[in-house]
């Protein structure tokens, strides 16, 4: 829960400027990027994700280093990615 996971913005969700599809460790999921509104992310940007929300923009090198650190955490990391895999945030966005 406290683990920030780096993800790369793959697609901005049309019609909802708070949502973006990101790629995280091979998983594609919708996350909320509303907290980055002061500098809206574009496709290709890296963000640090906590519980489905992007909290900060980071550069690619930091993303790689953060991911490497997470992999070393073993079980805690796999649990977090598995939790993300099961997340269905996009269904909240639909009316």
């Amino acid at each position: 829960m406290c683990l920030g996971i780096p993800g790369q913005v793959a697609e901005l969700v049309a019609g909802n400027d708070h949502l973006a599809k990101v790629s995280v460790a091979g998983v594609r999921r919708i996350i909320n990027v509303g907290l980055l509104e002061d500098e809206p992310p574009v496709v290709g940007d890296w963000v640090l994700i906590h519980v489905g929300f992007a909290m900060a923009k980071i550069d690619e090198e930091e993303a790689e280093r953060a991911m490497e650190g997470l992999r070393l955490m073993g079980q805690a990391y796999t649990d977090e990615v598995e939790a993300l895999r099961q997340s269905r945030i996009e269904e909240v966005a639909s009316p």
């Binding site: 929300f53 909290m55 550069d59 939790a83 945030i89």
Partner: protein, 381 residues
């Protein structure tokens, strides 16, 4: 230097250790890492064995799962057991023991307890189950509080009325202050938390040097980050400076994330006081929903027992959380209390000092002792 070879940049790591050793000289310096993520890195990478004996790292209260008192877990289980409720929680909280077992056991007894990745997943469950009451067990420092805040704003905007939050969000500054006020511990400085600082920034820590005369360096999560931050703390002391510095500029800005802070301020207000496991009641240290969000406040919607429960006598999580003792000094560590059968919270979360030490540090420490013993005859010869 066995562990250093495993670091991303062993040359830089060696240089930092040399610098730290020089700066520390004959002194003895005790620094607290506030954040559970740092504790994990320190044990995972054997940093305590890489540092010279003149520098000691003690673990702080920065694991939000670890600081939730038993009574609040009991309250959660009580709400989960009420008719028509779907109770949702982050996975980390599922195994935290209350006085009558944990949430997983409540689920086994028939309560509808589900684990979610995000509060938005809990909100989705509420939409999908309009005839049920969906409650989200909100825990965490300012790292996760903005997510809960935005989810509540979404619930209100969309008129979702069968969704509520059992709020246990805590704030990072009051426990640091409580530790600085504690007579138990003499500290020479702090490694400031990483991810929570992406939200709050570095400014809230200014009181640490200003009022208590201790330096604080916000640090990243790699072994090199920890070593660099320790070197920065020692440099400040060596130069006679005392200030807040940022080692983790890759992620943390001085002003934090203003939007996230604004979301927190819009939805939450400070509780007059909140009980922290091991630290007792700390005033203005936790968040509750503002009155205008009462329809989404589980504490207003449900009967909450709110009974204070003392920690098990054998458990010394409180002293571990304050850095007064190391995990292995607890009477039940590794015997009655293990990650499989945790008695205390510090053994539950992967970021808890006891679990991190049990999983990694223990082996490093044993290895170091063995290597130390093995090295003695050679050195003598």
């Amino acid at each position: 230097m066995k562990f250093v070879d495993e670091y991303r940049d062993p040359v830089a790591a060696r240089a930092l250790v040399r610098r730290i050793t020089e700066l520390a000289g004959d002194g003895h310096f005790k620094f607290m890492e506030v954040c559970g993520g740092h504790t994990h890195t320190i044990y995972r990478h054997g940093i305590e064995h890489v540092l010279p004996e003149s520098v000691e790292l003690v673990h702080g209260p920065g694991c939000p799962v670890c600081v939730i008192p038993m009574g609040r877990v009991d309250d959660a289980i009580s709400v989960a057991g009420q008719a028509g409720v779907i109770f949702t929680s982050f996975g980390d909280m599922m195994r935290v023991p209350g006085s009558q077992g944990n949430l997983l056991e409540a689920k086994a007894r028939g309560a509808d307890v589900r684990f979610v990745y995000s509060p938005l997943d809990a909100l989705r469950l509420a939409r999908d189950n309009p005839d049920r009451q969906v409650v989200f067990f909100a825990v965490g420092f300012e790292t996760t509080a903005p997510s809960t805040a935005l989810t509540l704003l979404k619930a209100r905007a969309d008129g979702v009325t069968n969704f509520s939050v059992f709020c246990n969000h805590v704030t990072i500054v009051p426990p640091i202050k409580a530790i600085l006020e504690s007579p138990d511990l003499r500290l020479d400085g702090f490694l400031g938390p990483g991810h929570v600082s992406t939200v709050v920034g570095n400014r809230p820590y200014r009181f640490v040097p200003a009022r208590y005369g201790k330096p604080l360096v916000t640090a990243g999560f790699e072994p090199l980050d920890i070593l660099a931050a320790v070197a920065m703390l020692l440099t400040q002391i060596h130069d006679g400076r005392c200030q807040v510095e940022n080692q983790y500029t890759r992620c943390v800005r001085d002003e934090g994330n203003p939007r996230a802070l604004a979301a927190i301020a819009q939805v939450f207000e400070l509780r007059p006081h909140f009980e922290w496991r091991g630290l007792g009641f700390i005033s203005q240290s936790a968040l509750k929903l503002r009155p205008e969000f009462e329809p989404w406040d589980a504490e207003a919607r449900f009967e909450i027992p709110g009974v204070r429960v003392a920690d098990p006598k054998a458990c010394q999580c409180g002293e571990v959380l304050k850095g007064v003792i190391k995990p292995w000094e607890c009477k039940v560590f590794g015997t009655a209390c293990t990650p499989q059968t945790p008695i205390g919270t510090c053994m539950v979360s992967s970021e808890g000092a006891c679990a991190a030490y049990y999983n990694f540090g223990r082996l490093h420490r044993e290895a170091a002792v063995t290597l130390g013993r093995a090295a003695q005859p050679a050195a003598a010869g």
